[in-house]
Structures are given as C-alpha cells and as structure tokens.
C-alpha cells in the first residue's frame, strides 16, 4: 500500500517529466519520432501545432492503454494500441480541420502519420503497458515536451535563417539586416537541412554531456 501514499509530484514522478527533456530525449537519444520532427519544421506555427497534437495524443493514449494494460492479451497488443492511437488521431484531425484549417492543410498527411509516430508506440510499449495511469500520464507529458522542444528549436532556426521570419513575423526585416546586405539562406527551407540541423543539435548535446557518446 506504500505506493498509494506516494505524493502526486514525488521526486520519482518529477524525474519522469524532466528526464525526456534532455538526458533521455525521445528524438535525439531514443531516436523515435524523427519522421515528423523533420518534415513539418519549415515554419514555427506548423511545428507548434504538430507538437501540441502529438503531445495530446501521447498523453491520452498513454493513460488509456495504461488503464487497459491488464486486459490486453500480449499477442494482439500492437493492434489494440494502433486502434487506440488511430481513434485519437481521427479526433485531433477533425479538431484541426475545424479550427485551424490552413495549418491542417499544410501538415497534410503528417497529421495522419501521428498514428505511426514511433514515440507514441514506443512509450506505450516501454512504459504504459507496465505502469499505473498517473505515472503513464506524466511519462507522456514529459516525452511530449521533449519532442516538442526539439521540434520548435529546429523550426526556429529553419524559419529564421531560411525565411527571416518567426511565426510569420518578419524579424530580420525589422532589424534592418537586409539593408546591410544580408540574404536569406534558401537552403534551410529545403528538406536536407532539417537533417543537418538535427544532426548539429545532437552534436551539441553530446558534446555537453559526454556520457551520451556512442562508442
């Protein structure tokens, strides 16, 4: 019964949220959910919407699967998880279409691809199947933030260097950089630079924290 007495935000639970932010980041360390992290990071707005959508699906799916963990036969668990995720993604897709139609058009197939976002499946498999709902929720939340900040960081650099704007606001123009002869780097908008940007983030992270270096 000692577990029920554990505080809602005990040290262990706080760790569940803070770990995925850096040392156990889903994108740069666990190598999950790369696909969407790269594809929709041309603009901050799209990245922001994507981070929130995927985060919501992740938290709710984690809780649902955690509630059902004792009833799911392990042989068919992947299909059960996919059905839970797909149902949630349909909801998110309909909400996006209703309220932010232009962003939903821009994200196109990538909303649907949240279903196959490996972070969600990975966390369900690795965590929600073995833990209680509250902990699973925190784990989902932590990973959603870890995923979100990488997404937003990549989008920040790509939009700033590639188009000179942030959330569509022409920052560099206001700063008067163009008058000094500065030009946007169109390369940053093209797909390959997303990979290089993430590569550089990984590089910096591992250079800061030597324990993460692969042998």
């Amino acid at each position: 019964m000692s577990e029920t007495k554990e505080a809602l935000f005990s040290k262990k639970n706080r760790k569940l949220i803070s770990d995925p932010l850096s040392d156990n980041n889903p994108v740069t360390i666990q190598v999950l959910g790369i696909c969407s992290a790269l594809a929709i990071t041309v603009q901050l707005k799209a990245a922001f919407v994507m981070a929130i959508s995927a985060g919501v699906v992740m938290c709710v799916a984690n809780v649902i699967v955690s509630l059902m963990r004792n009833f799911i036969p392990s042989r068919i668990r992947i299909i059960v998880q996919l059905v839970v995720i797909a149902a949630l993604v349909i909801l998110v897709d309909q909400v996006l279409k209703a309220f932010v139609y232009d962003v939903s058009k821009q994200l196109s197939v990538f909303v649907g691809l949240i279903i196959t976002n490996c972070i969600i499946m990975g966390r369900l498999e690795a965590f929600a199947l073995a833990n209680k709902p509250w902990k699973s929720f925190l784990d989902g939340l932590g990973n959603a933030f870890g995923y979100g900040w990488i997404l937003i960081a990549v989008a920040f650099f790509r939009e700033l260097l590639g188009a000179g704007t942030l959330f569509g606001y022409p920052v560099l123009e206001k700063l008067g950089l163009y008058d000094l002869g500065y030009e946007n780097n169109g390369m940053m908008i093209l797909p390959p630079m997303a990979l290089v940007t993430v590569g550089v983030i990984i590089w910096i992270q591992r250079w800061k924290n030597r324990d993460l270096i692969e042998s």
Partner: protein, 205 residues
C-alpha cells in the same frame, strides 16, 4: 504507359520517401548498421508497400470516399466515410505485416532473426502508412497507377537504406569527432545524400 513510367521514376527519385518526406526514418536509422540487414528490411518494405497501397486504393474508392458506396444502391450515394480512412488503412497494414512476418519466418529464419523487433515495427513504419495517405491525397486514376506508385516508393526507400548502410560500414574506420559518432554523423550524411537526390528535381518527364 508514359504516365506509369512517369509516376515510377518520380516516386523513386524526386518524391523519395526518405529524402523528400522523411518517412520511415526510425527504422531507416536503426536497421542501417550493416548492408545485409538493410537489404532484408528494404525488400520487406517494398513488398508491404506493393500490397497495401493497392488494397487501400480499393478500400478508398469502393468504401470510404464520398459516394463510393453507390454500388450498394442509390440510398448510399451520399455516405461519406472518409473520416474513417486512418483507422481502416492502419488495420489493413497491420494485418498485412503480420502476414509478411509469418512468410519470412517460414522461408528465411536467418533473415527473421536478424530483422528481429523491426519486422512488427514495419506496421508502424511511417513510410507504409505514408504511402497509403499520399495515394489518397494524390487521387491516382486507377489501381495500376497506385500499384506502380507503391512499388516506386518502396524502391526509393530501399535505395536510401542500402546507400546509408554502405556508407555507415565504411565510416566506422574514419576519424569522426566523438560527440558526432553514431547518430549525429548519420543524420548529416543523410542530409548530404538528400542534397544529392535533389539534383533529380530538375528532370521533367
């Protein structure tokens, strides 16, 4: 015929799954340590795409699309089930993957062993679902075009993973800065390969 050739070439090189849309990156990064396993993984993806894209094409055009159920009778002409497409597509994909897994286990236990956990994960490989969703978005005219698109995308993915696996085998003997080793350098090389593939963009067919 020319249309088909056009779709085929375009889906392999110009709209390459990995370099233009980053689909299937998770397994692309995880299984590309040796050429041998990457060939097996690539072949499995080609096969699954060839099967699931046409199947989902039929599903989309005879069940899910608005007015697709008209063959059942006049009363069904206004039914629009397209909001169900995600869940139907993923169900088809999951069952097909199960089938492929059983076939590989039977005929090539060695390959089955080396693919390990990544075989069931083809079901959650974004390239597979992405193929079906792009098929839906681009409205291919008939099932042959959809099949050719599936085949082309699969081959494009195959080329990408075999290419990166070959480079990773070589790069093990190079002096890569320690923090960049492994994952980091793989990302940057993939970016460079993507730039190389972008040179196909100018081709008009």
């Amino acid at each position: 015929m020319q249309d088909l050739a056009n779709i085929f070439i375009k889906s392999i090189f110009i709209d390459n799954m990995v370099f233009a849309y980053f689909l299937g990156m998770c397994s692309y990064l995880a299984v590309s340590k040796t050429v041998k396993t990457s060939v097996g993984m690539g072949a499995a993806v080609i096969f699954v795409l060839c099967v699931t894209v046409p199947t989902n094409y039929l599903l989309e055009n005879y069940v899910l699309k608005e007015g697709a159920l008209v063959w059942l009778g006049e009363g069904y002409a206004n039914v629009d089930l397209s909001f169900l497409s995600f869940i139907m597509f993923i169900a088809v994909i999951a069952s097909m993957v199960q089938l492929v897994e059983m076939i590989i286990e039977k005929f090539s236990p060695a390959l089955y062993g080396s693919l390990g956990i990544f075989l069931p994960l083809i079901a959650v490989n974004c390239a597979i679902l992405g193929g079906s969703l792009f098929m839906q978005e681009r409205n291919y005219a008939n099932i042959t075009e959809a099949t050719v698109f599936g085949l082309g995308s699969g081959i494009g993915w195959f080329l990408a993973i075999v290419g990166i696996a070959a480079i990773r085998e070589k790069i093990r003997y190079s002096q890569v800065p320690a923090p960049l080793r492994g994952l980091g350098i793989t990302f940057i090389i993939t970016g460079l390969m993507g730039i190389a593939f972008m040179s196909f963009m100018g081709i008009k067919l």
